[in-house]
């Protein structure tokens, strides 16, 4: 049985059937019965129903299909009660907005199945509403990632959000809170605390435990009891703080600083980082065991350059929030779409606010900052006069070998000295990279460094 308190409409012209079905439906909420089309019409107009059961065989008096259309307009989930209903009418019912059907007469078990489907539908609709009103995207890949949130309620395990700066990690943490229905949500930006302060914030402290501890203070983990703790920028924790956190997460009980009284707390962890956590683990600057503990579920937020279809959408969104209308010229839109937005959504928001502050109403290419207008990217410096001189000096073949070798070496360094991670990051085959490095290991170059 489903525990719900729904407003239910039952449209049924046979009085005995109406009463018995009403009794079956009553366990799901408040049931109002309409015995004819006119009454049904009036009830739909004057009440807020979540679900309605329509018997379409109302002895010719009722054009039930019209009622279905009205119910659809009012956002009601319609179930057609069919006895010996013809297939064509049933099909037409679905075209007119019916979402399900139930053969009459029905018993508890069949009704439970319908209600179960309805609750799934309701859950999906509510989920989509939350996503659409909090995260602007039409990127299929990003949407797929966000839809992982839907099933997070089936587990109590930790969630790990990764994404570059400004991609909306904090927004997603709040979406998760909303979808999972937690009221209790505490958050901490790990980058703002040293080890002692972090321990005190996380675990709480006892009065007098250190200078400045003028009263007992509850820690965030205790405050997150039966709720969520969101640890933003978790990569910035020191090794000592990581150990403190790991112990608390594993045991779900801890001693506040300076206290000998253990505190228990049942919290769910969401953590986020803008760094490449795999590299940090490979470099041993982030504990492998902590990462394993906090990353049961992963949500990856894409940078804007990988979902450029969202750029104009985001401008429209932020402009709609402003006190006056701002118009972006088409020539400007193209420049905005082509720019790579290293600070992601936050950069768009800042730019729009900048237009407002400066009173720009019509955005032409000349209104844009020079780096956006000219689409200046750090990687554009790859081909510069220095490189051109070198190609002339050592020849193209040697330049390419040297460039490739130094590039691979730099990538290996970036990925903690592990060639396997570097090859994955470069989307290159590990054997071919390894082979190339072996071949050119001792090759000396008589020119200046490429760096």
């Amino acid at each position: 049985m489903v525990d719900q308190n729904l407003n239910i409409l039952l449209v049924e012209d046979d009085a005995l059937t109406a009463q018995t079905n009403k009794r079956l439906l009553k366990q799901y909420g408040n049931v109002l019965v309409a015995n004819d089309a006119k009454e049904a019409h009036s009830l739909i107009k004057n009440h807020k129903f979540e679900i309605a059961f329509f018997d379409l065989n109302l002895y010719g008096e009722l054009d039930g299909l019209k009622l279905l259309t009205l119910a659809k307009m009012m956002g009601i989930y319609s179930v057609v009660l069919s006895g010996e209903l013809r297939t064509d009418i049933l099909e037409e019912s679905f075209v007119n907005g019916a979402k399900d059907f139930l053969n009459k007469p029905f018993n508890q078990k069949k009704l439970d199945s319908v209600m179960h489907r309805y609750l799934n539908f309701k859950r999906d609709s509510e989920f989509e509403d939350i996503i659409n009103s909090n995260f602007i995207t039409k990127s299929n890949k990003q949407t797929e990632e966000l839809y992982k949130i839907k099933n997070l309620s089936f587990s109590e395990k930790p969630i790990f959000i990764s994404g570059e700066t400004g991609t909306g990690k904090r927004v997603v943490a709040h979406i998760i809170k909303q979808v999972l229905g937690f009221k209790n949500f505490v958050e901490i930006n790990c980058s703002q605390y040293n080890d002692d302060l972090f321990a005190s914030e996380l675990l709480g402290h006892k009065k007098g435990s250190f200078s400045g501890a003028i009263e007992d203070k509850k820690g965030l983990l205790e405050l997150a009891n039966e709720g969520i703790i969101f640890l933003d920028e978790i990569h910035s924790l020191s090794s000592k703080s990581q150990k403190t956190l790991l112990k608390a997460i594993e045991e779900k009980e801890f001693f506040p600083v300076g206290s000998d009284k253990k505190v228990k707390s049942n919290f769910r962890v969401i953590s986020a980082t803008c760094e490449n956590i795999h590299s940090l683990v490979a470099q041993s600057s982030f504990r492998q065991d902590l990462y394993a503990r906090i990353s049961t579920f992963n949500i990856e937020l894409l940078p804007l350059r990988k979902r450029s279809e969202d750029i104009n959408l985001l401008f429209e969104y932020f402009i709609s929030k402003q006190p006056f209308r701002i118009v972006i010229k088409e020539s400007t839109s193209k420049l905005l779409e082509n720019y790579f937005w290293p600070q992601n959504t936050r950069e768009i928001q800042d730019l729009v606010e900048n237009w407002v502050v400066n009173g720009h109403r019509l955005i032409t290419p000349d209104t844009l900052p020079i780096h956006i207008k000219n689409n200046i990217r750090p990687q554009d410096t790859i081909i510069n006069d220095y490189f051109l001189d070198m190609v002339e000096e050592i020849g193209l073949t040697e330049f390419i070998v040297r460039f490739k070798k130094e590039l691979i070496q730099a990538m290996i360094k970036r990925h903690g000295g592990v060639m396997k991670y570097a090859s994955e990051a470069m989307k290159a085959s590990y054997p071919s990279l390894s082979d190339f490095m072996k071949k050119n290991k001792n090759k000396s170059f008589n020119t200046r460094s490429l760096h």
Binding site: L16, T17, T20, R23, L24, G83, E84, K104, P105, N107
Partner: protein
């Protein structure tokens, strides 16, 4: 009413009456022990009667 509609009407009525009997029992509306016994016997017949009606619906009459 054609035969199918008649069977459908009978089927609906029997379901309603069976449900009614269940509610009478659930609400403990009967004090008389003999009537209670009859009620249980009637309810025990539910599956048998429903199966007969389903068979009837599926027959080419």
């Amino acid at each position: 009413m054609n035969l199918n509609q008649e069977i459908h009407t009978l089927n609906g009525y029997i379901h309603n009456v069976v449900n009614l009997l269940k509610y009478i029992k659930e609400d403990a509306l009967i004090d008389n022990e003999e009537t209670k016994e009859m009620l249980d016997l009637a309810l025990n017949k539910e599956n048998e009667i429903i199966t007969i009606i389903e068979d009837l619906k599926n027959k080419d009459l």
